[in-house]
Amino acid sequence: MSGPARQSVSGAAVMAAFLRRDLREALTYKFSFVSSVTGILLSSATFYFVAKLVPAGTPSLGPFGGDYFSFAVVGVAFAGLLGMFQEGLAAVVRSAQLSGTLEALLVTPVPVPVILFGSSLYSLLFQVVRTALHLGVALAFFGLALGRVNAAGVLAVGVLTVLCFLSVGVLSASFILVYKTGNPFSWIMGTASGLLGGVVFPIALLPPWIRWISSLLPVTYALDGMRKSLLASASFADVLPDVAALAAFDALLLPASLVAFRLALRKAKKDGTLAHY
């Protein structure tokens, strides 16, 4: 039998293979896309009617264009996206542990970080599409009030936010590699962000004694910068404080997450629990 024409493992080919695998699997679940779109429509409709209870010109909404529906839709759409970035990597590790595919992946020549990112790529891209759809539906059917969009602000806040939440995702994945469940990053960043990060109401409404916690959460700056850039016709200078805060989070979390992942992988290999669940 002839041997294969084995090439060096190209990152792009590996990413394409992961995407193809996940797309093929997703296509075997015929109703998942339909239920996802239905969920977006129902969520938008719910906030559309809730917004009728909030008078236009409410002071706390002033910095974000003044319209509650637009404020909430942008918050919910982007919080979903950020949630996927912070949970996605841990979710794929957990899923591979539970399904039993982790060992088979780890004996291939592909570096572990590439496996991790590749495994979550489809979910991340799908969530990007879902977010765009969410905003599109809100714009087309419910009157999402976009301002003069600050593309540079959206881009800067978006890139820094993705790096920040991917770092949190790597920290979560590191925890799951070693401890399997009970991921504290998910609780801190997910649950706390929902309440304190200004997803569906401005943090200005929070009592001052708790509001300071919001300033420790990256989601606060991500949503603030994104809303100002999309809804309030803010200039780049207006979102600079958010950009600076997100850059500081990145500078801290990115190296910390890479070190944590290396240590976690070593510990799991040392304890022989890499594929345990």
Binding site: R6, S8, F18, T101, E103, P109, K269
Partner: protein
């Protein structure tokens, strides 16, 4: 002259931490309890040999294979694959072996056999028409041509095992690690797997195979060399021909003696 060794373990030690409950952790927070899986194990497997590793449950067979596959880091000693230290050069070591992960959960159940191989083939650096040709070749070799486009969840246990071999062969590594490949197979399927490993992979393709099994007859029929592992050490090692010369009964006697002695003198 004997074949050069491509799998080597020298004084290999592996201890796993013992799972402890909350009460134990609170009462003895600094205590570290371990169970020894490999206890200074020495082993050499020559190129092109079929090396069967016999031993009772918990003897250390799977741990040894996982160390050689770079999935578990040793605590002491060293192990190398094709000259690459598994702890210091895990990448090249991994490239040198095909690990036939027998766990049927290691596949994507909603994809077909071919789609599974396409995915893993890409991870092994196979691309374009070469990947398709290689997969067709392996599916034919594994007797899965007709089932290639069926979903994996429709495969029998024997077919799943053969697909695991096909996956391990994607990169055409010269060394194969197989862990109890005939476990849970019916006698005919087990015979097909043995014939495939011994006849095709070792006989025709000249691959080196480290083969963990509980089945003494399987070892006698298929191996060039046999070792008995118990309590983390090799207790007996011999060419299969001399061990099996006295028939199955003498092999069984040698096995039981090696395991029994290790239990008396751990």
């Amino acid at each position: 002259m004997s074949a050069p060794s491509v799998l080597v373990a020298e004084g290999l030690v592996k201890r796993y931490p013992v799972f402890r409950g909350f009460r134990d952790l609170i009462l003895h927070p600094l205590e570290r309890r371990t169970v020894t899986a490999l206890d200074g194990l020495d082993l050499e497997v020559g190129r092109g040999r079929v090396f069967c590793l016999l031993g009772p449950n918990g003897a250390g067979k799977t741990t040894l294979i996982k160390v050689l596959a770079t999935l578990v880091l040793p605590d002491g000693g060293r192990a190398s694959v094709a000259g690459h230290d598994v702890a210091l050069e895990p990448g090249p070591a991994r490239n040198a072996v095909g690990y036939a992960v027998s766990d049927e959960r290691s596949f994507y159940w909603r994809l077909s056999g071919r789609q599974n191989l396409e995915f893993f083939g890409a991870l092994y650096g196979l691309g374009g028409p070469a990947r398709g040709r290689r997969i067709d070749e392996l599916l034919r070799l594994a007797g899965l041509e007709e089932a290639a486009d069926l979903r994996f969840n429709g495969y029998s246990t024997g077919m799943r095992q053969m697909l695991a071999f096909a996956r391990a062969l994607l990169a055409d590594a010269a060394i194969l690690l197989v862990d109890e490949p005939t476990r849970s197979l019916d006698p005919q399927a087990a015979d097909r797997v043995r014939a495939f490993l011994r006849g095709e992979l070792a006989g025709r393709q000249g691959k080196t195979i480290l083969w963990a099994t509980h089945d003494l007859g399987e070892a006698a029929d298929c191996a060039d060399d046999i070792a008995v592992i118990s309590r983390g050490r090799i207790r007996l090692r011999s060419p299969a021909a001399s061990l099996a010369a006295g028939g199955r009964a003498s092999l069984r006697q040698a096995y039981e003696q090696a395991v029994g002695e290790s239990e008396e003198k751990p």
